[in-house]
């Protein structure tokens, strides 16, 4: 039996946008209302934020959510 699975990998440009705005992880964390560890985890790809937090980040940087987060599609064939 062959099962086709669509894997979605969420990547982000948060560290790039943060650098553009010249803001530290600590400052961003305080502005958004999360811990610095969460910002570190998002930037490192270890944690995908909730939709609400993603929108909060987009609103803070006055940009579109797609400018920060993007989805890479990857089709994996399993036998």
């Amino acid at each position: 039996m062959t099962k086709s699975t669509m894997l979605l990998k969420i990547s982000n440009r948060l560290h790039v946008i943060r650098a553009e705005h010249r803001i530290t992880q600590d400052q961003l964390a305080k502005e958004i209302g999360v811990t610095r560890a969460t910002i570190v985890a998002i930037e490192g790809g270890g944690y995908n934020p909730s939709l609400e937090l993603a929108f909060r980040l987009a609103r803070y940087f006055k940009t579109d959510i797609n400018a920060i987060f993007s989805i890479e599609e990857d089709t994996n064939e399993e036998n």
């Binding site: 209302g33 999360v34 811990t35 560890a37 969460t38 985890a41 944690y47 934020p49 609400e52 937090l53």
Partner: protein, 198 residues
């Protein structure tokens, strides 16, 4: 959470050293000695007894409040277990750590239940009971009691048996098991949380 609960919790915690001191005092004087020692010691002895009784009632009340009051439970047990939920990521990690803790605790409980039910006895029979030239017996059994049984008196044949190994359930007390599980829950949760936070 009611303010009175917080106040009673403080009384309970700060009263603990006093209770220990009073327990040492009452241990060194038995009731008859205290009654004959004079009015001052006698009154102190009675006061210690009253305080200990009140503290015990407080312990039961706070235990029940922990079960039935969600806010009280969350506030008190979060401090004891060092649960931190400062943002959504920590909430998610807390959930994962709690799941790990719950499953490992359940595994331990299943093992403890099995160990408490199993019975193994190895004994040698008295010469008059030897059958087929075999004088050693391995007895295996399962035991499940809803209530704690009083120890039964050994029968005449039991008294003649020479026991080599006698395992009848867990050798540790129920208080030790409960305390062990409390410590395990806190330790397992914090260990899981630290691993997840890395």
């Amino acid at each position: 959470m009611k303010k009175i609960d917080l106040l009673l919790l403080r009384v309970f915690l700060y009263g603990l050293p006093i209770i220990v001191l009073m327990a040492i005092f009452t241990h060194s004087y038995d009731y008859e000695t205290a009654a004959n020692a004079g009015s001052y010691v006698n009154q102190l002895y009675n006061f210690a007894g009253f305080m200990f009784g009140a503290w015990m009632l407080l312990a039961v009340y706070l235990g029940l409040r922990l079960i039935f009051s969600g806010t009280f439970r969350k506030k008190v047990l979060s401090r004891i277990t060092f649960i931190k939920e400062r943002d959504e990521r920590e909430v998610m990690l807390t959930g994962k750590a709690a799941k790990t803790t719950m499953l490992t605790t359940l595994a331990i409980l299943i093992l403890l239940f099995c160990l408490s039910c199993l019975q193994v006895s190895i004994y040698s029979l008295p010469p008059e009971s030897v059958a087929d030239g075999k004088n050693k017996v391995i007895s295996l059994g399962l035991k499940f009691d809803l209530l704690r049984n009083l120890p039964q008196e050994a029968s005449q044949s039991d008294m003649q048996k020479k026991s080599i190994l006698d395992y009848v359930g867990l050798p540790i007390s129920s208080s030790t098991v409960i305390l062990g599980l409390i410590i395990w829950q806190i330790t397992a949760y914090n260990y899981s949380m630290r691993r997840l936070m890395k």
